[in-house]
Amino acid sequence: MTHARFTRRQFLAAAAATAGALAIGRPARAKGSVTAAMYPGTWEEAFRAHVVPALKSAHDVDLEMTPLFAVDQIAKAQAARGAPPFDAFVLDPGPRVTGIDRGLFEKFEARRLKNVGRLPAGMVDDWGVTVAAQVVGIGYNPKKLPRPKSWTDLLKDPWVSRLGMTGFQTTYGTVSIIEIAKQFGGSETNVEPFFVEIKKVLSKVAAIGAPASMPALFQQGQCDITYTNTQTVATLRGRDVDIEFVKPESGAVAFFTTMHVAKGSREGENAYKYFDTVISAPVQSALMQPPNNFIPVNRDVKLAAALPMASLDEMAKFVRHDWSKINPLRAAWIERFNKEVAK
């Protein structure tokens, strides 16, 4: 009995010591540092591999990343009003407009970026700087389906019965639905035709899922066609998933991913150094290579053959959307989508 109690006490002491050691053994914070919100997964891995060392060698600034999706960044910054939990945002256009609307960004000073001249026109404004482009179109499994041509094919046989859909929660989902609506007479601010058309085929649609589950659903053959962006397709192809990207006849959709300084950030200076490093030609070029598959925004980067365009200027021909018009309508669309697809 005494034996048992003795060992138990020893065990507790050891456990306490371990916990203490874990708490103390933290690296000290370096002098120059910036904390950036970062999309988890591909983005974070790519930034860790290329941006962290580049920023360190060019400016002696340490980059700390906090993995958050765009929507979570806005929520966190808003909840922590005035005391932002990170210095820099990375956002898609929808959350970007919300961030501007809710006053979450510091005013952006483009002249503080050395590389700003290398960006095509319109890539920097009073709120932030564009760091990557995203091109949205159709992804399908060529082993199981014939090649689709247009957005409307998604709602026709044989594709519709293999279609995997997501709602308006994501930027790529929203722009794709808008494009489908346009083919049936709708517009950027009117997705009613989409709801009319989808209702006719709803029972055939293979999956209406959470955005996070789409890669797994596709991989396991639950759906064989979906709307998606080139980066996702390239990443999944790199992992041996049977998926191919198609630019719809009416044109692929392009949108930009932007970075912003969080309101109240005390590391503004380092945030600009960070942005400047991200848009620099060597970093942009490295981010373009597999397995990262970013679409660069720096003119000095020689575009890879796999990209859906030969030059950055071609992007002007892609379909663009005005998110300041879309955002106010999104809540109602989401509600409508819930009601239409719920059985």
Binding site: A19, A23, T35, W43, A75, A80, L236
Partner: protein, 269 residues
């Protein structure tokens, strides 16, 4: 009557078999997937290999996962200890009492379980920020204690209700102090409930996404959030391998404990 007993065995046997199948099936799929030779998570796996476990244990290429795993373990241990101690004390206080206020208090203690964690995480972040705290591991641990304490409370209370009040009273009437009674009478009866509760609290914290999402800062990266990103964007097989490691660890711990318990029993005899 024997025919009735046969029907009992068949019905209970079939249902329990189904239960075991449901418990084990998905885990087998995860384990098989983790041994794939392929480059992404897929079932059935293409060929068998240990490459993803090798990658998972690679201290350079998986360093971020290791850091997140250490953070998660640290928080889970703190949350488990905090929740178990608080919940055990409370369950002793509430046991075998009735009355409106006891029931109200019990409902209050259970309420974090039914408040959606997403909403609690958001509210907790607003509150902590207002108080002047920055997101950190400590805040995550506090948030986790709140949401896992009901798990510990429920299992401990369930065991508590088996305690015969006559035992406590006779112990007290024999002059035993409260603490002595607790250690020698109460604790042995409720120990399985406490252990079950502590385990639920530990894994509840280890696997929590919503609270960690809101209360995590740049240096408090948590494992489930990291795994979420890996699964969503790259179908990384290491996500499955993490489960394989966890299962193996618990299996080994249970075997060791069985040895130790068996050993102490023999020493005692």
């Amino acid at each position: 009557m024997r025919a009735k007993d046969l029907s009992y065995s068949v019905v209970i046997g079939l249902l329990a078999g189904l239960g075991f199948l449901i418990l084990i099936g998905p885990v087998v799929i995860v384990l098989l997937t983790s041994f794939t030779q392929g480059r992404s998570i897929r079932f059935p796996p293409s060929g068998l290999s240990l490459q993803w476990y090798q990658l998972l244990f690679d201290s350079v290429r998986s360093s971020q996962i290791h850091r997140a795993a250490l953070n998660s373990l640290e928080v889970a241990v703190v949350a488990m200890v905090g929740a178990t101690v608080l919940a055990t004390l409370a369950s002793v206080a509430l046991a075998r009492r009735s009355g409106t206020w006891v029931r109200a208090l019990d409902t209050f203690f259970m309420s974090p379980l039914i408040l959606p964690m997403l909403a609690f995480g958001l509210a907790a972040l607003m509150y902590f920020t207002f108080m002047g705290f920055r997101p950190s591991l400590a805040l995550i641990a506090i948030g986790h204690v709140v949401v896992v304490a009901p798990l510990a409370l429920r299992t401990t209370s369930a065991s508590m209700s088996q305690l015969d009040p006559a035992l406590l009273e006779s112990s007290a009437s024999l002059g035993a102090s409260w603490l002595y009674t607790f250690r020698r009478v109460t604790l042995p009866v409720i120990a399985p409930g406490i252990a079950a509760g502590a385990f639920l609290a530990f894994v509840g914290s280890l696997d929590n996404v919503p609270i960690s999402l809101f209360l995590a800062g740049p240096r408090s990266d948590m494992l489930p959030i990291r795994m979420w990103g890996m699964m969503e964007s790259t179908l990384d097989v290491r996500v499955a391998a993490v489960s394989g490691v966890l299962i193996a660890t618990v299996l080994v711990l249970m075997l060791v404990m069985e040895r130790v318990v068996g050993l102490t029993r023999r020493l005692r005899d």
